[in-house]
């Protein structure tokens, strides 16, 4: 009898194991009040990176507040906030090379903000207008950027996780020293795709980092009804994978843990699982009302651990940030987001031809026929199609066709 580790040792009485004897601690360096634990040691975060991180965190907070408000005003169909989870997302992103791939779930706009996705790009996607690179085909928040190595978001949960394993396998063969970071929630980790991905990554020694944002709830389902084991981190052991649990609201810990995970992945082809313990301070989405499944008291307790406040205190203590800067940046970001939004919502819808382009590299004849029939139909009933009818003659309808 062999496992991959060693010959299995025989015993002569039935001994069961459930893993309860393994305790996984939480790695943390920054206290909830933003001061550093005495034995934490110096952080490897330099001033420029720290400021870039904090700017992205603040940007994400401002963006989320403004866009949720826009949704409430009926200007936007749907929105999802990153609020409360900015450190988990941006701290891990900052520890990567900017050419490392990110395959996220849907609540990770902070990663894009850190890498320099512009406000125009955010807004054009959110409003699905003619400048949206995906031509208004997906719901708001399904961003993607080839230049920023950020895979376009897909709604089905966990599908990106085995894709990350495959992408990273290709990176390993390419030999350029890059890795892939895939981010998902603790609910998505129940999907078969999660288990498939971890097992394949371990078997094939792939440079991939699996980052679980354990924010306590999958929409309304609490973790106690999601899994019985010791969180997500413990699952790595079944796949003989490196694993760490991190305070997800602690920017220093998230940065250090991911930096080390990246080293293991890139230098040793060891995949790593990171479980970031965090909390979704906002609703699941603009369609959700958390008062139906969690208490104000619980929310307030987590507001006290807000990752932005913790990082702000740390930066100010080091003399790397001050309140004037904070006020000025916040105001200028609010202005930028609002002004850009006003522009984006006025832009034209995508050209009608984009309805049928990109299904295949070359649009098949049958689909071209369907498009021509649609175009003729819209011409007969322009009043029914106010979004596309006014632009029919303006657009080269077949512009998107290869």
């Amino acid at each position: 009898m062999k496992t991959t580790r060693s010959t299995v040792k025989p015993v002569h009485k039935p001994i069961f194991a459930n893993g309860d004897d393994i305790q996984i601690p939480v790695f943390t360096q920054l206290k909830p009040d933003g001061t550093v634990y005495a034995d934490a040691g110096p952080s490897s975060l330099d001033q420029a990176t720290a400021r870039r991180i904090y700017r992205a965190m603040l940007y994400t907070r401002v963006l989320d507040e403004r866009m949720l408000a826009a949704q409430r005003q009926g200007r936007l169909s749907f929105y999802m906030q990153c609020t409360g989870e900015e450190a988990a997302v941006i701290g891990s992103t900052a520890a990567l090379d900017d050419a490392d791939m990110i395959m996220a779930q849907y609540r990770e706009q902070g990663a894009l903000a850190y890498r320099g996705f512009t406000t125009d790009e955010f807004m054009d996607q959110l409003f699905g207008n003619e400048r949206d690179t995906a031509h208004g085909r997906q719901m708001p928040i399904h961003y993607g950027s080839r230049d920023l190595y950020y895979l376009t978001i897909s709604s089905p949960l966990a599908t990106q996780i085995p894709q990350a394993t495959g992408y990273a396998y290709g990176q390993k063969l390419a030999g350029k020293g890059n890795c892939t970071l895939t981010i998902f929630g603790e609910g998505a980790a129940s999907e078969g795709d999660f288990h498939a991905a971890l097992n394949m990554a371990s078997v094939h020694k792939v440079p991939v980092i699996f980052l679980c944002r354990n924010n306590g709830y999958a929409i309304s389902t609490p973790v106690a009804e999601q899994f019985a084991g010791d969180g997500i981190a413990a699952r790595a052991f079944g796949y003989r994978m490196q694993s760490i649990r991190v305070d997800g609201n602690d920017i220093l810990a998230m940065y250090e843990a991911t930096r080390e995970a990246r080293r293991l992945a890139v230098e040793h082809n060891e995949p790593v699982l990171i479980e970031a313990m965090t909390y979704r301070l906002a609703a699941h989405s603009s369609s959700d009302d958390p008062s139906g499944y969690r208490s104000k008291k619980e929310e307030e307790a987590w507001h006290k651990k807000d990752p932005l406040r913790r990082m702000q205190r740390w930066l100010i203590d080091r003399g790397w940030w001050n309140e004037d800067e904070e006020r000025e940046l916040t105001e200028s970001l609010r202005r930028e987001v609002l002004e850009t939004m006003k522009q984006a919502e006025k832009r034209r819808p995508p050209a009608l031809g984009t309805l049928v382009s990109d299904v295949y590299a070359e649009t098949p004849p049958l689909l071209r026929e369907q498009f021509e029939a649609l175009e003729a139909h819209i011409r007969r009933h322009p009043e029914t199609y106010p979004r596309s009818a006014p632009w029919l003659d303006d657009d080269s309808a077949t512009e998107g066709w290869a």
Partner: protein, 325 residues
């Protein structure tokens, strides 16, 4: 030219693709040193190394998820699903991911490099789970290309074209013909066109349309019908989607009669789509109703497999009905 069976032609195509492009990778369950349960990947690991031809854990959704990621990265994965009957755990990855990768990203990302190979079809006493023909499920998903070859020459040329296609392809291999179908196959690298059906025999009275292993069946039926004086035109669809409507329309405008035959069940089978399209395009030219000769609307059986299968005599009966309408 070499004499090969269909399995050897598939193996030769994979070898050719891997030799020509180091980005081509072959993987799946038992695909490594063992060469696959049918031996389609024999000797590829020896030749190209474990990094490019390897076993995966037994998890179809993982294999296709992994393959999607590899293709997005720029590699050219050829993933094997051991039997088409076991492709369903990967249905989400294929339908929601593979098919929509390019569209949903506005062409920022695509998985055009991906080819999924899977043996399909009955006739090997495989029962429910080693016999299915699932092409219609995938034909209903815009973004996927589904290809089925009928013989060794076609298999090599179509598989090479699939691997190099800018779109992801599901390549269903007729496993009943793996060793039964033998023919001359060019040794060199060649491709046969996707999205193009082929008229393999011209005739005037009736058009018989099929693909893959069913081609042999309609050929046998045609031979019997010819002896009775019925001139049959035979078309191999080859690419199920996007399908070659024009070649079928041209044939039916000439013959006025059409029979479509496949092993998969009748209801919702791809023959239904063909029949609907052809009746709308050739309505005034039709001499008789379009017939579908298919499997029954049952799970794939075992002991009574012959009764289930749309064999040559069932096709011949349909020819009689159609001609006598």
């Amino acid at each position: 030219m070499s004499r090969m069976n269909l399995l050897q032609a598939v193996n030769n195509a994979l070898d050719t693709a891997m030799a020509a492009d180091e980005r081509v990778l072959c993987f799946g369950e038992d695909v490594g040193i063992f060469g696959g349960v049918f031996r389609a990947t024999s000797h590829l690991q020896e030749k190209y190394g474990r990094a490019r031809c390897f076993n995966t854990p037994l998890v179809e959704q993982g294999i296709i998820g992994f393959a999607n990621g590899l293709a997005a990265q720029g590699s050219v994965p050829v993933a094997e699903i051991q039997f088409a009957d076991y492709i369903y755990p990967a249905f989400d990855q294929l339908v929601n991911e593979t098919a929509k990768f390019r569209y949903r990203s506005g062409n920022l990302f695509d998985v055009g490099g991906l080819t999924v190979r899977a043996p399909y079809g009955g006739g090997i006493a495989g029962g429910h789970y080693h016999s299915q023909s699932p092409e219609a499920y995938f034909a209903h998903t815009p973004g996927l290309t589904v290809v089925v070859p009928r013989n060794p020459h076609q298999a090599k040329g179509l598989l090479l074209a699939s691997i190099r296609s800018p779109d992801p392809v599901i390549f269903f291999e007729p496993k009943r013909l793996y060793r039964a179908s033998v023919g001359e196959v060019p040794d060199e690298d060649y491709e046969l066109p996707l999205r193009q059906a082929e008229v393999i025999k011209e005739g005037n009275d009736i058009t018989l349309l099929a693909w893959g292993a069913q081609m042999e069946v309609i050929e046998q039926a045609a031979e019997m019908a010819e002896k009775e004086g019925v001139s049959c035109e035979l078309i191999d669809l080859r690419t199920i989607v996007p399908w070659d409507i024009e070649i079928v329309v041209q044939s039916v405008l000439k013959t006025g009669r059409l029979i479509v035959s496949h092993e998969a069940p009748l209801t919702g089978g791809f023959a239904s789509e063909i029949a609907a399209t052809i009746q709308s395009r050739c309505f005034l030219y039709l001499e008789s109703p379009i017939e579908r000769v298919t499997g029954l609307d049952t799970p794939f059986p075992l002991t009574l497999e012959k009764e289930y299968m749309p064999g040559p005599l069932k096709v011949l009966d349909a020819i009689h009905r159609t001609m006598g309408f």
